[in-house]
């Protein structure tokens, strides 16, 4: 995948987010915003447990989900059986990334680290990546733009570009780990070469299963899944949809050959249809 980079290519890196140790402190959210200068995203109290961030978006690249459940964390104890699931969500940096595939400008690209990054100097805000992402990660920023407008006549006041986690591309280039992973007090967010992370995750899952944790599973670890495995994968304690994640995401472009075939036939049909309209006289 990184062949084009030649000697520039690095080992593929990513995140393993182990939600079984997430304390829901949201340091990752703040660390991300501080480093990437992501704007504040509105002061809205939701009443959805302690989550007032709600979802990933243009101005939220890390989001901690809070789920309160009347179930025991492990085993089948019944007294005071409460658990509070917390999970820091992030862009998955898919092996087969729909946002990257569909981006018409090359703003989204696969970096030398195997991550998927939006280039803010290229993005023209066409918005195609937004519905393409099977996780609803990437979004367009509608806040006032910060840079000076270039062409006054057709320039918009809002930022208008799409934004998402860059896995701290600039930090990686400088040899630093991403801001969120660095801040995480309990190493719920682990950063490293993806192969190492997968190994670590397998061990972790085995340990939790041995300890009788309820619902422990890996999500996005499998390279054979619909997006070819996540660059940022998770250990969850319940079904993915409980955390607002799709249970079986598939990169839309997997079906692109078939779609092109249908389109080609449809185009032919249009030609035939037009020709057919002349059957019985061209006037």
């Amino acid at each position: 995948m990184l062949d084009s980079y030649g000697t520039e290519a690095q080992e593929r890196v990513g995140f393993f987010t182990d939600t079984s140790v997430c304390i829901g402190c949201k340091a990752c959210e703040v660390a991300c915003k501080e480093w990437n200068l992501v704007p504040e995203d509105g002061l809205v109290w939701t009443g959805e447990s302690y989550d007032n961030t709600s979802e990933l978006g243009a101005n939220t690249w890390r989001h901690v989900a809070f789920v309160e459940q009347n179930e025991p964390l492990h085993g089948d104890r019944e007294v005071d059986a409460l658990r509070w699931l917390m999970s820091s969500d992030v862009c998955k940096h898919c092996t087969h990334a729909a946002c990257l595939d569909v981006c018409p400008t090359g703003s989204l690209f696969r970096t030398e680290f195997g991550t998927v990054v939006v280039q803010e100097d290229i993005c023209n805000g066409c918005g195609y990546c937004v519905p393409a992402c099977p996780f609803g990660v990437i979004d367009k920023r509608h806040l006032p733009r910060r840079d000076a407008p270039a062409l006054p006549l057709i320039t918009k006041q809002e930022d208008g570009r799409v934004w998402k986690c860059t896995l701290c591309y600039d930090r990686l280039k400088g040899g630093h780990e991403p801001a969120c992973a660095k801040a995480c007090p309990t190493e719920s967010i682990q950063f490293g070469p993806l192969d190492d992370l997968r190994e670590r995750a397998d061990e972790r899952l085995a340990k939790l299963q041995a300890e009788d944790w309820n619902g422990a599973r890996l999500y996005g670890r499998d390279p054979d899944d619909g997006v070819g495995g996540f660059g940022a994968f998770f250990l969850l304690l319940d079904e993915p949809e409980v955390y607002g994640l799709p249970p079986d995401p598939v990169v839309t472009t997997r079906d692109l050959p078939g779609m092109y075939r249908s389109a080609a036939i449809a185009a032919g049909a249009v030609v035939l249809g037009v020709v057919a309209a002349f059957v019985g006289g061209s006037r």
Binding site: F109, Q119, K173
Partner: protein
Amino acid sequence: MSIGDALDRWPVFRQLREGDPLGLGRAARSERSRVLKPRNDEADHVVQSVCPYCAVGCGQLVYVKGGEVTHIEGDPASPISRGRLCPKGQASKSYVQSPLREYKVKYRRPHATAWEELELDEAMEMIAQRVVDTRAANWQAETEKGDPANRTLAIGNLGGATLDNEENYLIKKLCFALGIVQVENQARI
């Protein structure tokens, strides 16, 4: 830049030349992305500091460029925090640069309905005079029972738990010498 150069830099050409026919990787990379560097690496200097919020005392690295803090993150060398920070500690730069931060002295006269401006030196002079006058007018050499008191009960000082030891030292030392005994801080609260 010649047309040839321009073509050379055109990603569509690079897609073919750089082994990235789908244009998903290197060919699509912009010049900005190619030379991108973390701003930490461009700091004029880095200062080892300590988080100002709770008492865990996490280590912070403060990056400075052009006299402004450009970033604050955890100090990995700290055996206390191992480079990690909580959301508050991680927001330290935004705290230091809060949009609500005040940079000028504000003064409210008795019964006034609005703040007015005041020079810092003048404010200091006025405060010093208030302390001197209030203390003189409310000095208690001894208690009603005749025990020695050497104090004024008309002035109080509150604060300290987020201040430095050196600051607290001066507060207590000064107040003690002035006979101001009502010196208190958050430890009580």
